[in-house]
Amino acid sequence: MQSAPLPETLANLLGLDPNSTAVMIVLSLVGAGLIGTLMMTNTALAGPWAKRKITAAFTDRIAVDRIGPYGLFIIVADAVRLLSKELIVPEGADRPAWDLAPLIIASTALLGFAVIPMGNGIHLADPEVGLAYVFAVASTTSIGLVMAGYASNNKYSFLGGLRAVAQNLAYEIPLILTGASVVIFAGSLQMSEIVAAQQQSLIGPLPSWYAFVNPFAFVLFMIANLAEVGRNPFDIPEAPTEIVAGYQTEYSSVYFVLIYLGEFIHIFLGGAIIATIFLGGPAGPVLPGIVWFLIKIWGVFLFTQWARSAVPRVRIDQLIEIGWKGMLVLSLANLLLTAVIVGVTV
Amino acid sequence: MIPAETYLLLSAAIFCIGLFGILTRRNALIFLMSVELMLNAANINLVAFSLQHGNLTGQVFSLFTMALAAAEVAIGIGIVLVLYRNFTDVDVTKATTMRW
């Protein structure tokens, strides 16, 4: 299962010298472009189309169906529509920050995919500190959110930004601590190692995916992830019915697109992390790894959409208290519990 | 490998930028950021020479430095907050009830 990173595979494929830096830079760009395209495709599919269809299905509606099969071409229509809208800069906006925020939100989420093994050798880079890297990059997004909220000079935005930060802060630590409990099993932060460690059999045909080995951690991680990506029940940063749309209230045109896409990429990134550290990465029977990987991240996406439709939003005080008094304690307990289990079994 | 002098120059430059910020800015928050810059200059040195010398001492210590920097900021912001409450300003030169 463990294979060389994507640029190296490409070099071998093309018969180029993998030790030459110049070659590697070029091939890395190629690989990065590939992964970027892949993820943007996913997002484009999910954002304007899948989200609507799924929500509609939950609420027993039809949603988009006019353009193309199953209304799929709405993606193109929406893209053109949004890109060609006028960009309105709100009064008193803090200009550089206001411009940078969408960029940060979109690109940081994308950056996280660099270390995710997607199967079939589609694994851009495999640094030793992969998991730490991906957590680091994923949490950078909140900087973009607070920048957007602050720079807009809008009270809703400002509150949204604040809420986003408070929420990310509250759930970041449980997320990381739960992730750390997986590392206790795997003994490495390298993504390929973590995936490799999940390939043994647990009971019979059931693989030792950490979701099965440590279901408690899996549940905690799923919840924390929901909060991280800001989906119901933890969507108070946007909370359209309270503060309109939070930090994105004042954004329009391409900036809005970027923020919107960034959120979806972020959801997929969360899915990718879950898939990698809990669901055996791209592993799965019969189908090729990349397909399994896509199935898993779309599964997580479906889960978030289901939660979005099914679960009511928590209040800010509930959010904070669940995070600090519930999740954090549970995740600390989980960490120690895992350590004891691992310590006893080795 | 990139020669060690490069890292030294980089860290020295960052350190000096931080120092410059401290000497010229009067906003307590910018002051805090400048201090962070200086600490990070130290971290660059530590990590770079950890690689150079081939031992982990520097890297481990840089983790501690980061943690302490964070704690320092936590305290610092707290003090800036009470400063603001008492003087309704975060200008460090405004607080002058005592003479130097």
């Binding site: - | 201090v35 600490l39 001492t57 003090i79 005592m98």
Partner: protein, 516 residues
């Protein structure tokens, strides 16, 4: 000799840490508690335990495998006589301070936090005494500093306190950044952070590394770049100068000591300063031995640097103190001056061995005596603040009539600080004097004498106000707070007893310095 596990050697630090955790727990159980007695009791117990352990270990040598002390955590911490000596100073000062704080914080909110912060800071000081690596030293130093920033700004409704906290923090943050950068440069030059490793690197001239706890030459024997090392050492001197309130990083001291709650001023000016000095003593004696440094073509002669610093600190501190209008600020500047005296411990070093131990033990002895007399003096200020006596010299007029016992204690502190033979301060100053003459550092000796004479002038202003002047205006002292009185009188007793008992102190200090 009782055989204790190795980690028990840290008991003085651990008991402080434990007490702070117990306090946190107590405050968690009942966050709105106003049971100052319980909180202060836990703190006093913890710090007394710390002092007791340190004293026990010093006298009984319990847990000491041999005379070189107990090395812990891969030699990152070393509990030897020197560490225990300073742990004892910290323990005693902390005891006095928390005892005195019992009355002081009774009318403030956040009492538990106050004690927790004091104890955490004391834990840091205790650990700093044992730090045997630039890494642990830095961590411990920050553990000392961070709570003390908060403590200085503890009276958050009081502009003076907040301003003092801000200034202390700003300068502290800068100096810790400078220190960290200095440490990183030393690491860059030598490849190690442990003091013995740095020393080996300097003496052998090659970069070292640590394998399985022992210092070894780095593969390929790269040479130590002396220029980088020199800059690093210079920056470390800067960091030490801040913590010890020495020139050129002394500006915070008068502000912080004046603005802070008086028990905290006592704590900072005594224990915190001692902690800074233990770092300096250990780092410069163990990691940067001056003989090897100069022999290896070291770019910096730190003895010279400390000589300049010592003289400058003495003069600036004492002359500024002489011009002050308020008692607390006068004491604050005088404590800067005292930092100058202690710096002699590093400035009067000649080579290693005997000369080194003599000057360092002189500095250490002065710190111990100073710990009691200076703490006592600031606690007397706390008492005055408690009574609502003003800040200026005139406000102390005639206080001797209303509170003769406390004023007698204050008189003892002040005269002992000045170096009159009424307390241990006389001998410790003389010891420093002897150290300067031992290396024929006439300028240091002259500075010491001139400044002692000058200090007598401004200290006696307070004595004059308390005893000789007529009280102005009406002032009634309603209560005589037990905790503060106990602490002040206790400190005075110890200060006086240190006159006949100085021998024990100087002996231990000398042994400790010799073992370095």
């Amino acid at each position: 000799m009782v055989a204790l596990p190795d980690w028990m050697a840290l008991a003085p630090a651990l008991s402080l840490a434990l007490a702070s955790l117990v306090l946190l727990l107590a405050d968690s159980v009942d966050p709105d508690t106003t049971n100052t007695g319980l909180l202060a009791g836990i703190s006093v117990l913890g710090s007394l335990l710390s002092f007791g352990f340190a004293g026990w270990f010093i006298t009984a040598g319990t847990g000491m495998a041999d005379s070189t002390g107990v090395a812990l955590f891969n030699n990152q911490l070393v509990v030897d006589q020197m560490a225990l000596f300073f742990m004892a100073i910290v323990g005693s000062v902390t005891t006095l301070v928390v005892l005195a704080s019992y009355d002081y914080v009774a009318e403030h909110s956040y009492q538990a936090e106050f004690f927790v912060l004091v104890l955490l800071s004391a834990t840091g000081m205790s650990l700093l005494s044992a730090a045997n690596s630039l890494a642990t030293a830095f961590v411990a130093l920050e553990l000392v500093s961070l709570p003390s920033y908060a403590l200085v700004a503890f009276l958050k409704e009081n502009k003076g306190s907040v301003e003092a906290g801000l200034k202390y923090f700003l300068i502290g943050a800068v100096s810790s950044a400078v220190l960290a950068y200095g440490i990183s440069l030393v690491y860059a030059a030598t490849g190690v952070l442990r003091f013995d490793g740095v020393a080996t690197a300097i003496s052998s001239g090659t970069v070292q590394t640590i394998v399985d706890g022992s210092v070894q030459a780095q593969a390929g024997d790269p040479a130590v770049p002396m220029a980088i090392l020199g800059v690093g050492i210079l920056m470390i001197i800067g960091g030490v100068a801040f913590k010890t309130a020495s020139v050129p990083f002394h500006f915070w001291a008068p502000e912080a000591y004046e603005g802070a709650p008086a028990p905290i001023s006592a704590f900072l000016s005594s224990a915190s300063k001692a902690a800074g000095f233990v770092l300096a003593f250990r780092a410069f004696a163990v990691a940067f031995p001056i003989g090897d440094l100069l022999a290896a073509g070291g770019a910096i002669n730190w003895v010279m640097a400390f000589q300049i610093l010592a003289i400058a600190t003495m003069f600036i501190g004492n002359f500024a103190a002489a011009t002050q209008e308020t008692v607390k600020r006068m004491l604050a500047y005088s404590s800067v001056g005292h930092a100058g005296y202690v710096l002699i411990g590093l400035a009067a070093v000649s080579g290693s061995g005997e000369g080194l131990s003599l000057s360092m033990s002189a500095g250490m002895s002065h710190l111990l005596v100073y710990g009691f007399m200076n703490t006592g003096a600031f606690l007397f200020i706390a008492l005055a603040e408690y009574w609502g006596v003003g800040r200026r010299f005139e406000d102390y007029n005639g206080l001797g009539r209303e509170a003769p016992v406390a004023c007698a204690a204050m008189t003892v502190f002040l005269f002992s600080l000045a170096g009159l033979p009424i307390g241990g301060g006389f001998f410790s100053k003389f010891y420093l004097f002897q150290a300067t003459l031992n290396v024929s550092a006439w300028s240091l000796a002259a500075a010491l004498i001139i400044n002692s004479a000058l200090s007598l002038f401004y200290y006696s202003r307070v004595v004059k106000a308390m005893w000789i002047e007529e009280p102005t205006g009406s002032r009634t002292i309603e209560s005589y707070p037990m905790g503060l009185y106990t602490a002040v009188v206790g400190a005075a007793l110890v200060t006086v007893l240190l006159l006949p008992g100085f021998n024990r102190v100087s002996e231990i200090a000398f042994q400790a310095a010799q073992l370095l």
